[in-house]
Structure formats: C-alpha cells, structure tokens
Amino acid sequence: MVNLTINGRQIKTEANTTVLEAARANNISIPTLCANEATAPYGACRLCLVEIKTARGRERLVTSCLYNVEEGLTVQTNTDRIRKIRKMLIELLLARCPDSDVIQKLAQEYGVGKSRFVEQSGTNKCILCANCSRTCEEVVGVSAISLSKRGTEREMTTPFGDDFSDVCIGCGSCSFSCPTGAITVEDKKGKRTITFPHNIVEFKLKKCSVCGQYWAPEKQIKYIAKTSGTPLTDYDKCPDCRD
C-alpha cells in the first residue's frame, strides 16, 4: 500500500495505481478527455495535469493519468495555476471544435467565455484524443483507423481515406469510446453507417432467423466467430432469441 496526500486528504492506495485512479477512487474529480479505462493512458489532452511534490521535495506538473502514486507524494488538483492551464486548454479546444457541446459544457464549467482564438471549421467534433483508434487497437484488436499526418494537419482516418475498410468489423466501439461524439453509428433498414470525421463506412446487418430484427454487422459476427473459434451458425439467432 502507498500513502499520499491529494488536496490535503490522506489517501491510501495500492502501488501501481495512477494518481488519476487514486483520485477517482476517492471521489476527487479531475477532468479528462483522452482517458479511457479500457486502454492504456495516452496523455494527450493535458486536462488532468496536477501539481505534485515528491517526498524528496521535487515539484512539478504531471498528467495524473500517467503518473504512478509514490509514498509521501503531495498532489494538488485544483490550484490557480492548474485552473489557468485548464482554461487555456479549453479555450484552445473551443476554437478547434466550436460546435462540440462537450467542450462548450467544459467551457461553462471553467468560466471560459468566447474563445479569443481563430475558429477552425471542418474539424467537427474530433479533438484527436485517439480514444477511437486506441480502443480499436487495444480492445477490439483490428486497428482499422489511425491518426494520419502530423501536427495541425493531423486527422483520424481509415487508411488512404477510404470509405470502406477491409478490417473494420463495424462494432462501433470507436464511437462508444469517443468523448465528444465525433464518430456516430446509425442502424437503419438493415444497414449500419459509421460516420467518422472524414470517412463514412457502411455495413450489412445480420437479420435474426427467429424474430427478424437486424442485430449486428455481418462482419462483426464473422470476426467474433473466428476469434472465439465458434461456428457461424451459432449467430443465426440474435442474443434475445438464443435461449
């Protein structure tokens, strides 16, 4: 067990825990956008920055999602300096994604009015946190999408910007993990449409042999059958009709 202090409170936690995990386990809130319990921490949005002082007296700013707890660590999550940084980060994100309701809500929470910066158009709601591609790689295991180019030109796309994908199984985990709703999934008339920031990919949905409901993309079912080593016929019925 490790003993540390967060915002003046004595906290006891297991070793190999991040400061963010320790804070959340103790109902201390730290804002995040790129953190995702199902994937390894990424440290890109910088919203979870906290001020720390180690037992040996070293003071610095660290992203709590990546910094492991240490014996005798002192953490401050809401100092003036931290709030100032968060305000600026939100102001920058607001200029990038002016239409994002999630960013607008954060702006309200942190007292950010209109952004002083030049608004970007066409980036819709993607903040390049890579939750989608990291989930696709680490959880689903197909790596269908990725961040291409670099710097201010960076974008989340399928390879070559195709409106199809050889490996995407249409599971929609990317959309589920996206903090701003930049990826949407729509099921309609036997077809699933996943709309990415720059691409649209469509999938044929499987119809249940019993109730006739469309329940999952055929490609996803094929993938599940293959990886679990079960026959495809197991999936002719939707989960509800399978008892």
């Binding site: 440290g43 910088r46 492991n68 940084i85 200029a95 903040i127 390049l128 670099r150 710097g151």
Partner: protein, 563 residues
C-alpha cells in the same frame, strides 16, 4: 583486413601504417564534405586526380579527400601539408597551377590565399587564418587528417587507443572518469553524461541499448553532419567505450535522412571497424561484444527528442511520451537505453585518453570542454567554430566570424535553434555556457548560431520559427498543436499589419500554458523565439501593431492595412 586481437596488435598496426607513409611527403587535403560539394569540390577532387597523373607527380605528392574542416565560407578548401599552406575558393581550373607551382616548384599561388582584410595581408599558413586562430579544435581538428573512407587514417592518428585503454579499465572507473570530466550532453539539454551512463548501468535488466542521436534537426546547425561525415570513427569509438561502461551490447546510430553522405560514411566506418575487430564480437580480444546498426530518420524534427527517436526506431510514428520514468530505465523496446548526441560521443575518446583532470581544466565551472557551433546567417565567415566553453558571443561573432558583411550592423544572434531565443547586442559579452545562456532566455542548444543584421525583422523571425515548429509538431498534445496553430495566426496578422492591442499579452498567455502543459520539449520550448523577441525587441512588435510599420523594412504591410 585482419582482426586486431589485442591492444598490442593495435599499436603494431598503427606503427605499420605509419611506416608505409613518408612523413615529409606533401599531402594535398581536399575537403569533400557536403558544404564544399555545394561549391563543386567533387570536380576539384577529380581535377587533382587527373592532373597528378598527367604531370607525373604520384611519387611527389599524395592526395587525401577529407571531411569538413569548418571554414565553409571559403570552400573548396585545399590545404597542403606538412607546411599547412591554405588555399581557398579553389576551382578545377586552379588545380594544374597548384600542382606545377606549389608541388613542382615550391611556389605559393597568391591569388588562392586568404586575405585578412583587417590587416590587408595574405595569409599562407592555415593556423594563422583569423577564423581558425581563436578556435580550440580538439574534436573538429582531426577532420583535416582523415579520409573518412579509410579507417587506417584514424588509426594513424591514435584512433581506437582510447578504446584499448578503456577495455583495460573497469566500467565503474570509466563512468567515474566521465563524471569527473564534467561532460554535459551536446545535443542541447546539457544533462551530465556520466550521470546518464550511471543510471543506465544501474537500471534493471540485461539488455541495454546504446544510441547515437544524429538527427540534428535544428535548421542552420551542421556540426554533427560534419563529424559523422568527416570522422565517423571518433563517434563509434565513443559509443563502444560507452557500451562497455554501461553494459550494453546492441546499439543504433540514428541519422537523419537529409544527410546521405553522413549515412554513407558511417555505414562504411561500421563495416571497416567490424572487419578490424574493433566492433562486433570479442572486441580487441577483450571478450566484450557490441553490435551497431545504422538507421535513417524519415524527415521529422521531433525525432530529435529521445522518446520520439526511440519510437521511430521501433517502426512507429515519432510521438514522444511522458518521461516520468526515464529512458535510462525504460527506453527503446521498454529496455534501459542510453542516448547521446554525436558530439557528446566524440568527446569520450579524448576524455579517456587525456583524462578527466585535463579535460575539466577547459571551459567554465558549469560547462566543461569545447563546443562546436555552426556560425551562419548574416556573418562574414560562415562555418563551424570550436571554442572552449566560456568564450564570449562577441569573440565568436566578431573575432572569429569576422562581423557582419555588407557594412551592416549586428542585431541579434539566435542560439539553440527553434527551441532557443534571440540574444541582442547588449548581451554579446555573455559566455557560451549552458546555464548563462538559459538565464538570458535562450539556451545552448545543439550549437546552431544564427546571426541577424539590422535588416532582419524580429517579429518575422519569430513567425518563421513558429511556422517551422507548427510544421514539425507531432500533433499529439493540445497545448503544442493548437497553441502553435493559434500563435502562428497571431504572428501572421501582426506581420501583415492586422495586429491588434492585446496580441502581445495573448501570445504571453498562450506561451505560459505551452510551457507548463506541453508533453515534450518541443512544445515546452516552442514559445522561446516569440518570448525572447518580445523581451528584447518589444518595440518592433509595438511598431507593427500600433503603427502598422515594420522598422526593419521586411514585412509587406500595405498602406491600406493601416486603416
């Protein structure tokens, strides 16, 4: 080539190489580094080769094609040894005369000599040329004695004797010596090298990687290029000593793709060192093995950052990662890794051979040894300058650099590349020292020194650097990516006459967050050019914003914009 199996055999090889050479036979050294190649040095080399045959002078003179000796302004550089006759701006058409007059008859070809305009006299000997006189060329000086494609040249000047000596010391003793020398990283951060070696040695695990950062991304800096092109073995020798001290058996030399000659020469050096048993299995019969691979960059400044470089070596995009756990603990492929810059590695054989006591007498209290700088821009003598730490900027710019050409005035010198800052005239007496330069709002950096004259607009320079960094940002973290994007917009509008009240303060606000919140050094230091130019040249910003005028006359601010 037969493998050298012991230090004694190395000594014997050196003697046999020296025996085959006639000490008094003139040698014509011709620079064929990338800089002189831009002057057409390849044709000069070819002309010499042809003319020597034509004039039947093979028995009278040897030719040696060398890497960059540093006085790039005057290429193609030709020095005739042992008298050190210095010919500059040599063209193919000058070659027959050099051979017939200087080699054939012992006469000097006056028009090819360097003219010291200050004293209005022609200089014959290389060492008397003002550019070289105030330098202390401990590292770069060897470039003139070596054909980089011939390992025997390196051995002839004592190459690999430091390695032989080191292999008879214990790793701990070597590390103690490097610590004692006070050597600090030459890549820019200035981290104490001995400490880094020690941390990596003490880290958990049997597999440790030894890496050379030859990515040299700072535009205007080419010190590392000249070392890797001109004396690759000095870097290799340093790496092998380091590997032995740290306990690493595998390593990489990461060279940026934009340096094809450096890649070629280093590759050849590795092959030749392996053939001699100085690299690879059972080095010099010591039982210690170390294997090196060369890898190329893909064209990304961010890959000069250690974790981005390592990601690139793993076949991934050059995205840095947090360094809460140092790379000396978890680096390449998650293993303890020791990464050092080219010039840092090149200093190691010198420290081992001459000792830490000798080395630490050079330089200042906090910055030991010499540093190589690339002196470029609006300066008379462009080239590579090696001076002891503590030399003032004024000495470098005026005594060595020859001051500002075209009768113009000095305005600022930029050190540290895009991560550094502008230093104005009033601070010219600052010594080159890691800590002093940082205090002034700049940094030592890798060694690029860009001189700017009165016709430079400091706001435009800040815009240039911001634009550069924006293009090189990896794009992972919000403060760097979005911060640079917005900084560029603001600087664009100021230089285009659309600046408004509050722009300076907004730049400062943005900079504060970029410094505090960016993931890596690129983002953390990205606002240095802007902030240092505001600190020392605020009046120029205000002229652009309030009066819609560019005092240096550079920015095209249309009269209409002033309305």
């Amino acid at each position: 080539m037969v493998k050298i199996k012991s230090p004694a055999e190395l000594g014997a090889l050196k003697n046999s190489i020296m025996e085959k050479r006639q000490a008094e036979k003139p040698v014509i050294t011709i620079c064929n580094g990338t800089g002189c190649q831009a002057y057409g040095s390849k044709s000069v080399v070819a002309a010499f080769e042809n003319e020597v045959k034509k004039q039947n002078l093979e028995s009278k003179v040897d030719l040696k094609v060398i890497g960059c000796p540093g006085f790039c302004e005057r290429g193609t550089l030709v020095v005739i040894k042992p008298k050190d006759i210095f010919y500059q701006r040599v063209l193919p058409k000058d070659v027959p005369e050099i051979l017939s007059e200087t080699i054939g008859k012992g006469n000097i070809v006056n028009r090819l000599l360097f003219t010291d305009r200050a004293r209005n006299e022609k200089i014959v000997k290389e060492g008397d040329v003002p550019f070289y006189k105030s330098q202390m060329r401990l590292i770069l000086g060897n470039n003139e004695l070596i054909d980089p494609e011939k390992i025997d040249d390196y051995i002839a000047i004592g190459g690999y004797t430091a390695l032989a000596k080191a292999l008879q010391m214990t790793p701990e003793t070597i590390i103690a010596e490097v610590k004692k020398s006070g050597l600090r990283g030459r890549g820019g951060a200035g981290f104490p090298t001995g400490n880094k070696w020690e941390s990596t040695r003490n880290a958990h695990g049997d597999i440790k990687y030894i890496i050379c950062n030859a990515d040299e991304g700072d535009p205007g800096a080419f010190m590392d290029r000249s070392l890797v092109e001109g004396n690759p073995h000095s870097v290799l020798e340093g790496m092998i000593i380091g590997a032995y001290a740290i306990g690493g058996h595998e390593g990489y030399v990461y060279v940026r793709n934009e340096y094809p000659l450096a890649v070629k020469n280093m590759r050849l050096a590795i092959e030749q060192a392996e053939a001699y048993g100085l690299l690879g299995d059972n080095i010099l019969g010591s039982g210690f093995s170390f294997h090196l691979q060369i890898r190329r960059g893909g064209g990304a400044f961010v890959c000069g950052e250690s974790t981005a470089l390592m990601a690139s070596l793993e076949g991934k995009v050059g995205e840095p990662r947090a360094k809460y756990i140092h790379t000396s603990e978890q680096g390449l492929f998650g293993k303890p890794s020791n990464l050092n810059n080219v010039e840092t590695w090149a200093n190691v054989p010198l420290i081992i051979n001459k000792g830490a006591d000798w080395y630490s007498k050079i330089g200042t209290a906090g910055s030991k040894g010499t540093k190589i700088f690339a002196l470029v821009g609006n300066i008379t003598n462009t080239g590579l300058v090696e001076v002891p730490m503590g030399t003032t900027l004024r000495t470098i710019v005026f005594d060595i650099g020859g001051g500002i050409p075209k009768g113009r005035k000095f305005k600022a010198v930029q050190t540290g590349g895009p991560s550094g800052g502008m230093i104005p005239e009033k601070l010219l007496d600052l010594p080159v020292d890691f800590d002093e330069l940082t205090k002034a709002g700049s940094m030592m950096g890798s060694g690029g020194m860009i001189v700017m004259d009165e016709k430079t607009c400091m706001v435009e320079m800040a815009r240039y650097y911001t634009n550069f960094l924006m293009g090189e940002s990896c794009g992972k973290c919000v403060p760097c990516r979005e911060g640079l994007r917005q900084m560029k917009y603001i600087l664009d509008s100021i230089t285009e006459g659309r600046g408004k009240e509050g722009d300076i303060e907004l730049l400062q606000d943005l900079a504060a967050t970029m410094v505090d919140a960016s993931l890596c050094q690129l983002g953390q230091s990205a606002s240095n050019p802007v902030m240092s130019s505001i600190r020392y040249f605020r009046d120029e910003y205000e002229a652009h914003i309030k009066e819609h005028k560019c005092p240096a006359g550079v920015c095209k601010i249309a009269a209409a914009a002033a309305k």
